[in-house]
């Protein structure tokens, strides 16, 4: 595993030196998608909660960053705050939802995400429907690429450590049978909260990095439910391999569909829908989490 990690590190670091902007863009979107998947997997794979609307915290991160940066805040503090605010909001908003299970949890978080989208669109103070256009340097896309790479490597390493640690096994025990783990003296709440915090933090960071990457954000881009679906699509396909799966599937997904889209721009929605259906029909197995 560490070999793969160092391989990704070396190749990832050197890639921008050789790649043209087009391939850099595809690589960035693959890194973004895989980091999003790893971040959602903290809650989904380890605790069995499918936070379908986790993109809400990605959007919050993007908005925090863009709001601060456009008000003249320097880049790094804005990025740090874009980690802090979504993680705190996750801690405030999600614990009460943890009472719901399976697709009830999934849909209520999705409702939260769409609610935030509509809310932000209706409040002029946060840019309204216009969103934010950021004034960044020419190298913003390379900075964003390295930020995505950093997020991916961090999450990847963390997932490997979790798989090997007592903490990770405790999480899985809670996922398998919460009552049984209670009788063994495990209090699930601190575990759940720490995973929520971590998920919110990494999603917020990705949101901030996304703002740097695209230099323009609005509510319908950063709270887009299509992002949630892409993420969970990757997660479901990689349920049997939480470590390699999200990275490899994201790479495949972005390359495949990017090629398809650039060749058939008229048809990309149709092909994406069809692709999602066919792949889920072909690989429905491996879904295991706490049943309601």
């Amino acid at each position: 595993m560490l070999k793969l990690l160092s391989f990704i590190f070396v190749v990832g670091c050197l890639f921008p030196l050789f790649a043209n902007p087009y391939w850099l863009r595809i690589a960035s979107s693959a890194l973004l998608l895989s980091s999003l998947s790893y971040a959602h997997n903290l809650l989904f794979y380890f605790l069995g909660y499918p936070a379908f609307g986790g993109i809400a915290f990605f959007g919050l991160g993007a908005y925090t960053f863009s709001f601060l940066y456009s008000k003249g805040f320097p880049l790094i503090p804005s990025l740090l705050l874009s980690m802090l605010i979504p993680s705190l909001s996750a801690l405030i908003l999600l614990p009460i939802m943890l009472r719901l299970k399976s697709h009830y949890f999934a849909i209520s978080t999705l409702a939260l995400q769409v609610m935030l989208m509509e809310l932000v669109e209706n409040i002029e103070f946060f840019g309204g429907t216009k969103g934010y256009a950021l004034n960044l340097s020419h190298h913003a896309n390379i900075i964003a690429y390295y930020l995505f790479l950093l997020a991916l490597l961090g999450l990847f390493l963390f997932v490997i450590l979790l798989e090997r640690s007592v903490f990770g096994r405790t999480l899985k025990a809670i996922k398998e049978d919460e009552t049984a783990s209670l009788t063994l003296g495990i209090n699930p709440m601190p575990y759940k909260l720490s995973m929520l915090l971590l998920m919110g933090m990494s999603l917020g960071f990705l949101g901030g990095a996304f703002s740097i990457w695209s230099a323009y954000i609005d509510a319908s881009t950063v709270f887009n439910p299509t992002l949630s679906v892409k993420t969970f699509f990757v997660l479901i396909l990689s349920l049997n391999s939480p470590i390699y799966g999200p990275f490899l599937w994201s790479l495949f997904f972005e390359m495949f569909f990017e090629t398809l889209w650039s060749n058939f721009p008229q048809m990309h929605g149709i092909l994406l829908g069809l692709g999602i259906m066919l792949l889920i029909l072909a690989f429905p197995r491996g879904l295991k989490w706490k049943r309601s």
Binding site: I96, S102, A111, L112, N122, T226, F233, I236, G273
Partner: protein
């Protein structure tokens, strides 16, 4: 004061329509436990079908039954070709499948009809009925009455016929129904087929009420989901109550806060209900 009564009338008319709009979604969720995220797209397919039939100068008396028939058939196809393949896996796979299907359908509609706003305006329904100071547009009134009739028919079917009773039995207790000789697979097919037909029928009415584009499907599915969560599954009271809450919140927030807030308010209510009372006001089962 008068304006409040006018808004109440609007909300009531809308609630009747929402009850029909959500009935298929509620039926499918209640009976087979499937949250069909492609539901809104089926509604739009119905809307575009009726619209196309009308452009081809077909009488609406023929166009609506034809749309319903096509709905019944496409429901059977949906169940056999797609849903049955995943029904034994975790419900989450079906969410992803139906979401993919929703994308496919709305993009296909976009491909054929383009993203322009379409609407079906009939000369005979363009006026309004004036009752003292209140305005009741003919199209809303007609859709309300027809929705009422359709729900009544559905109710009679579910309560009166053998198949209807079997549907309710499976929804209430699948194993018990199986022990009585009911084949749940067939019942699932029938309920999906009925649900799709109801979706496409309400799509036809949607075209009469307002303009539509291929990408309205998410909002429509959300409305149906709202009605099911707030009202609860399993009986018609829940359906009516949920629709009333949705219509009231939309009409009043739209008037007092502005159109943009309609969705926000209904989502706030939805999230509160999911947390506080996920079985809904009148729900009999927690699917």
């Amino acid at each position: 004061m008068e304006i409040i009564f006018q808004l109440l009338i609007d909300a009531l008319l809308l609630a009747g329509y929402y009850a029909l709009l959500s009935s298929g979604f509620s039926l499918m969720w209640g009976v087979s436990g499937i949250i069909n995220l492609a539901y809104g797209s089926f509604v739009l397919v119905g809307a575009y079908l009726v619209y196309t039939f009308h452009l081809l100068e077909m009488s609406l008396f023929l166009a609506f039954p034809l749309t319903v028939a096509l709905g019944l058939i496409s429901g059977v196809v949906l169940q056999h070709l797609l849903i049955n393949r995943l029904i034994n896996y975790e419900p989450f796979t079906l969410l992803v499948l139906t979401f993919g299907f929703d994308m496919l359908l709305s993009n296909l509609l976009n491909f054929f009809f383009k993203a322009d706003v379409r609407s079906l305006t009939l000369e005979s329904l363009s006026g309004s009925l004036f009752v003292s100071h209140f305005i009741v547009p003919y199209n809303k009134l007609l859709v309300f009455l027809l929705s009422f009739l359709a729900i009544l028919a559905l109710q009679l079917y579910l309560k009166g016929t053998w198949t209807g009773k079997a549907i309710r039995a499976v929804s209430f207790d699948r194993v018990g129904a199986e022990l009585c000789g009911i084949n749940p697979g067939k019942i699932y097919t029938i309920s999906t087929s009925l649900a799709t037909a109801l979706a496409m029928l309400s799509g036809g009415f949607y075209a009469l009420l307002q303009g539509f584009t291929p990408f309205d499907s998410g909002g429509i599915t959300l409305k149906a989901f709202f009605v099911c969560v707030v009202g609860g599954l399993g009986n018609v009271h829940g359906l009516l109550l949920g629709s009333l809450v949705l219509a009231l919140s939309e009409v009043f927030s739209g008037f007092y806060l502005g159109e943009g807030w309609k969705v926000v308010i209904s989502l706030v209510i939805l999230v509160l209900f999911l947390l506080w009372k996920p079985q809904g006001v009148a729900g009999v089962k927690y699917a």
